[in-house]
Structure formats: C-alpha cells, structure tokens
Amino acid sequence: MNLFKFSSPQTFYPLAGRLAPLFWGLAAVLGAVGLYIGFFVAPTDFQQGDSYRIIFIHVPAAWMSMFLYLVMAVWAAVGLVLNTRLSSMMATALAPTGALMTFIALWTGSLWGRPTWGTWWVWDARLTSELILLFLYIGFMALHASIDEPRRADKAAAILAIVGVVNVPIIYFSVKWWNTLHQGSSVSLTKSPSMAATMLAGMLVMALAFWMYSIAAGLTRVRSIILERERNSAWAGAMQEN
C-alpha cells in the first residue's frame, strides 16, 4: 500500500475521520485508568502528602508541550521543504493543542507550587522556559492568523517554527544558567525522592493518555482545517451536499 496516497487532503480526510474516534476512545480509557491509579492505587507521599497527585496531570502535560513543539516544527518544515499542503495543515492543527499543554503544565505547576514551596510562582529554570515556550506557541499562531493567504501563512509560520526549534535549547540553557546565578538552591526540582513504582506507572499511563488525546485533537482539528481550505474543491462541495 502506498502511504503517500494519504498525503493528499482529499484522501486523508476520511482516514482521519476513521482514526480520530479510535484515538479519542484510547485517550478516554487510558485517562480513566491513569487517574484511577493516580488517585486510588498510588500511595500517599510521605513528604508532600496528597498534593503531589497533581503530578499525574502536570508531568505528562509538560512532556507533551515540549514534544508537540518539535512535532509541529517537523510538520511545518516538511510542508516548507516538500511543499505539501497537508503537512502544514498538521502543524497548524497541533499548535493550539501544544499551547494548551503548555498552559496546563504552567497552571498545574502553580497549583502544585503553592502547598509544596509556599508560592504560586518561582523564577525557576523549568517554569521560566515553559513560559517562554508558551510565548513561542502564541507567536506561531499569531503569525499564522495574521496572514490571510493560507499557503503564505503556512510558509511564514514554518520559518518561525524552525527558528524557534534552533533557539529552544539556547533559551533553555541561558535560563538555566541565569537561574543558578541568581538564586541559590531554595527550590530544587531535580532532587526529588525516588518514586514508587505505582506512581511511575500512573504517570506513564497518563502520559500515554495525553499522547492519544493530542493525536485525536490534532486529527479532529485537521479535518476542520481541510474542509475550510478545500471548501471550493469538487469533493468537499459534493460532501456538503450529501
């Protein structure tokens, strides 16, 4: 079977329509299992009590936020290099999910920080670089939204995403060094106590659930984008009449 058959929006649209419910279902099941492990199976932490349980949302969201930026940039770059429309549509479809993950990671981190560190926000290297990642997502979406012609918007946003990917490690390390220079070890995230096996299992299941959710949301959103952009084509028109 030639997989490149699905690189055309027309053939990908029904495929995404078949795959999306599958991933939504997987996300729901894995999310339910992960939350069950997180709330009822995993033991209470002897240092942080029950407040640590937000880790089952926080860490998967933080992982996905970084991973999705990479995936988004790769799709955007593929779209720029090979001039394939669908790749750029995928990049556009993933950006809001990535921004959402970044926001969830920041929000839950703040909620977690209040009981454990006694403050809503610290200028820690990870928090700061996560905040900057949110700015990068917003920049990508804002640039795409402000150019009316879709193909030009795709290409411009792709260049921005690639520049962003080159910059992300530089930003991360600069923030890290800046942080060690400014404040001592008042807060340490890295010296976490070794984790119980059930906690790790719960976190991994939740990470898979977030992964499935991201794929499902991306596929669902790309279907809307395909319809929106192809509304003048014969196949999309024929489908609307049915």
Binding site: I132, I138, S146, I147, R152, I159, I171, S174
Partner: protein, 223 residues
C-alpha cells in the same frame, strides 16, 4: 568585484538613513527616555538603581532594537526595491547581511555608545561600565540579526508592528540574560568573561544562520 554589490547595498541603506536622520534618532531617544523613566517609576535610591541598571539598560535596548525593525525592509517593500533585491543575481543572504550590518550601525551602535553615559546616571562606575559597553557592543548585532527574521516575516502583514514584538522578544531572551548577566557578574566580582564569550557565541550563530532564515522569509513575503 564580488564584494561590491554587498557594499553598495550597505552604502545605500546608510545613505538613506543619513538623509532621514530623524527616523533613526527617534529610536535612539526612545532608548534614552525609557531608561530615564525607570528611576521615576521605582524611586531614586542609588543602591537599588545600581543593581537594576544592567537589566533596565538591556531591556530598553531590546525594545529600541525591536521598534527599529519595521524600517529595515518596510520602505523597500513598499516601493518595490525589495523585489529587485530578490531578483538580483547576488545571493539574497549576502544582501540581507549587508542590510543587517547597516541596521546595526544605525540603531545598535548608537545605543552601545550612549549606554555608558546612562550607566553613570545609575551610579555604575569603573569596570561594570566598561563591561556594559562591551556587552551591548556584542549583543546589539545579535538583536539586529535575530530581529531581521521577524521583520521579514511580518512584511505586509496585518498588525505587523505589534506582531514583530510577539515573534522576536522571546528569541531575544538569551541575549538579554547573557548581556545583563555580564554586567551583574562583574559587579559581584565573578568576572564577565564567561557571559561575554557566550554572547559572542550567540553572535556567531546568529550571524551565520539568520541571513538564510531572513532571505527565506523575504521570499515568502514577496510571493
């Protein structure tokens, strides 16, 4: 012969700026005014101002550099010169390099030269003041290079002026950290060598890569 189109592009930008001096002086005075606003906002305590000075001067430099960006390609885009530059037989990245250097000379260098005077107002003296100058001298070209990508991407885009801030300011963060960090490091006695080296490394990466990204962005904008 190979260098002459590059030199011509550079001279053209400098000459145009010289004939419209007010445009570039605006950015310069913006920098001076923003820096002067801070003591009025946070109070005149000398000790506090001294510790805040590197950050204030650097943030103001970032904002000033960002404000001057739309002018790099804006007028050329409006009157069609940019299309001719893209069509020219010379590699576009080289012409972009020339224009970026011209932009730095007109907007970055004056800030670096003015910074020691403003630093004196904040009570910086001796070595921190010298390091402030050197950090700005190394850092402002980075701002011009990185900003060029944003300026090229937002050409002819709705709300380009505000958008360029959103795109460019997050990418400026490493330059801000190393630049302001150099001055703070020397003020606390740890030496500015490391920060200045990293700033130099940023400049090398930006100078090597950003002309390519900028020329790709210009081609997209002119489609």
């Amino acid at each position: 012969m190979n260098g002459s189109p590059l030199l011509a592009a550079f001279r053209r930008d400098v000459l145009q700026a010289w004939r419209r001096r007010a445009d570039w002086l605006t950015t310069f005075f913006f920098f001076v005014i923003v820096v002067s606003l801070f003591p009025l906002g946070v109070g005149p305590e000398p000790e506090m101002l001294k510790t805040m000075a590197p950050g204030i001067l650097w943030v103001a430099a970032l904002l000033a550099a960002m404000l001057s960006l739309p002018r790099v390609y804006g007028t050329d885009y409006a009157d069609g010169t940019l299309e001719q530059l893209v069509l020219a037989p010379q590699p576009l990245a080289m012409l972009v390099l020339a224009k970026t250097v011209a932009h730095w000379l007109l907007s970055g260098l004056p800030l670096a030269l003015m910074a020691p005077v403003l630093g004196l107002q904040f009570g910086l003296e001796g070595e921190p003041l010298t390091v402030l100058f050197w950090s700005l001298l190394l850092g402002t070209p980075c701002l011009s290079f990185i900003g060029g990508v944003g300026a090229a991407l937002t050409l002819g885009v709705r709300g380009g002026g505000v958008l360029v801030a959103l795109l460019v300011l997050p990418l400026y963060i490493p330059v801000l950290i190393f630049g302001a960090g150099a001055v703070q490091a020397v003020a606390t006695g740890t030496g500015a060598g490391g920060h200045l080296s990293l700033l130099g490394a940023c400049l090398c990466i930006a100078a090597a890569l950003s002309p390519w990204a900028t020329s790709a962005a210009l081609r997209v904008s002119l489609e």
